[in-house]
Amino acid sequence: MPRRPRIPVYMVWGLLLLAIAAPWLGLYPVLGMRMMCFALFACAFNLLAGYTGLISFGHAALFGGAGYITGLALTSWGWSTPAGILLGVLVALAIGLVMGVLAVRRYGIYFSMVTLALAQIVYFYCLQADFTGGEDGLQGIPRGTLFGLPLQSDRVMYYVVLVVFVASWWFMRRIVRSPFGQVLQAVSENEPRTISLGYRANRYKLGVFLLSAGFAGLAGALKSVVMGFETLTDVHWSTSGLVILMTLVGGLGTDLGPILGAVIITVLEEKMGTISRFLEQLTGIHWFATLNDSASMVNGAIFVLCVLLFRRGIVGALRERWGGAQVPAD
């Protein structure tokens, strides 16, 4: 097997230092936390899609489902923050188990369609259930404390999220490089052959689906605690699409790609108002101002361009440039 070219280690440390210093360099901590939650979500998605080739269109159900449960536990049941987050992860695992068992029976696009359809059940449940607050969403989720640390402070919360994020990222990286991860990559490259070597491919696929579900749930639970609210957007299929887009932009099947993609897309959504006003003033065309209300249009355009011209994503393209063996991306 040709050695995959790696991103130099000093880049990873550099990025980590940057993340640690960011709140002092003018990054609004809540935006930083949003980025990290989505980055974790994208990494979880990438664990499944990038290394196993299973493109789930239903990850929003895990992300938002966990967010709602954590929110419910913190607001209505008065649970402590870590317990609430843990419950969110467990619920995501449970949803992931049902989804995974059904979806790994099908291949390729079928897998995507099945996950999408199953996620709609969760969406409609959240739309109708009482505790979710329907269209209004679940409001006023308290951040609480963590081992005595006051999470109300944005900076404290920021570092807690950072620690969770880095630990999760490192753990997922270990999974990919473990024997388990190698089998997964073998499955994605040649499933019948892997089966004939004695591996039960479906079990491996289900296993990675569960891992991915757990981390997606962790991301969703963290996000609901950080933001203090949970809305239907997080369980909607457009969020499943968003996480695919983030991973694709950054680079499917790369360590850092999903993080980069999540940062880019989050910043873009955050700054869309400024960008659209700038374009309006520059060109004098009032229509540009409406861009702000339909960020999905911009996301869609990036999606189309990415699929047509830039399938390896940013990190994938960089890797190629930095030499080493060709990475099969298609």
Binding site: R105, V114, I244, A295
Partner: protein, 295 residues
């Protein structure tokens, strides 16, 4: 006999009929997907956006050009078909030979793009569109008043489904299509312009979605978001029916419309999810779908 299973018969029959109308739409939409999938192994996520465009064009035709429903019934599918043709020629064709997942991702992005463009002009609120005068009346069935237009829409959809089925199963062109499904390069070797065939098939499938949109315009509110939720239901129906089969698409489309109608009568909270639950059941029992063959 006014009650059956504890439900008023009139209500039951009414929902059954409405379910059948919905089912006809499902059938037409999943048919378009099936035709495209059969030839290209491509799942067109933008099918819902094409459906929406059909309805929006109909509304816009009336609003800006004073073209009535009948004109738009002809024009809108042609326009949507043209859009489909461009999408295939300029974008999807570049992805031929790659993992079909890229086609799904591309059309997903297109859906966001098309929806976003329409939203930026028309917002998310729906626009009402009234049925043509000729079909404005209602039919007194004794247990309910059924708008004439519903009858028309249902019959038109069924006719289109039947026509498409005949086209694929009984004509020379259909034979080319079916042969292309089996082995594209062999078909090409026999002197048939396969890329052209693919483009026209995609246009035809898109036009079917557009036609469904026109027919749906007077029934549901015309809005930029009308297609995307529907398309996921149609995906589930296609999985239930089995992707390969045109007949499977038609039959399961109709059946699921009726089942949804029944769900509304007996336990309404489940009516939005019953299709997905059935899909899960079918997947456990017959992973290839009811009419599908395991490849």
């Amino acid at each position: 006999m006014t009650e059956l299973f504890g439900v008023p018969v009139a209500l039951l029959l009414g929902q059954l009929l409405l379910g059948l109308v919905n089912g006809a739409f499902y059938a037409m939409l999943s048919l378009g997907l099936a035709v495209i999938f059969g030839l290209m192994d491509e799942v067109n996520f933008a099918h819902g956006a094409f459906f929406m465009m059909g309805a929006m064009f109909t509304w816009m035709g009336g609003q800006y050009f004073h073209l009535n429903f009948w004109w738009m019934l002809l024009l809108a599918p042609l326009l949507v078909g043209l859009v489909g043709m461009l999408v295939e020629r300029l974008m999807l064709r570049r992805l031929r030979g790659m993992d079909p997942i890229y086609g799904l991702l591309l059309t997903f992005g297109l859906t966001l793009l098309i929806e976003g463009v329409f939203r930026s002009f028309y917002g998310v609120a729906g626009e009402p569109y009234s049925p043509p005068d000729l079909l404005g009346g209602t039919l007194d069935l004794g247990f309910m008043y059924l708008p004439l237009y519903y009858v028309f829409a249902m019959l038109a959809s069924l006719l289109v489904c039947l026509g498409t089925w005949l086209l694929i199963e009984r004509t020379k062109l259909g034979a080319y299509l079916r042969a292309g499904t089996e082995n594209p390069s062999l078909v090409q070797a026999f002197g048939i312009n396969f890329p052209l065939l693919v483009m026209l098939t995609f246009a035809f499938g898109s036009a079917l979605a557009g036609l469904a949109g026109v027919l749906a315009a007077p029934i549901i509110q015309v809005s930029p978001l009308m297609g995307s939720n529907l398309i996921i239901v149609v995906f589930a129906i296609v999985v239930i029916g089995g992707m390969g089969s045109v007949m499977g698409a038609i039959v399961s489309g109709l059946a699921l419309g009726v089942i949804e109608g029944l769900a509304k009568v007996f336990y309404s909270p489940i009516s939005t999810t019953v299709v997905f639950i059935l899909m899960a059941v079918v997947l456990t029992v017959r992973p290839a779908g009811l009419f599908g063959k395991e490849k």
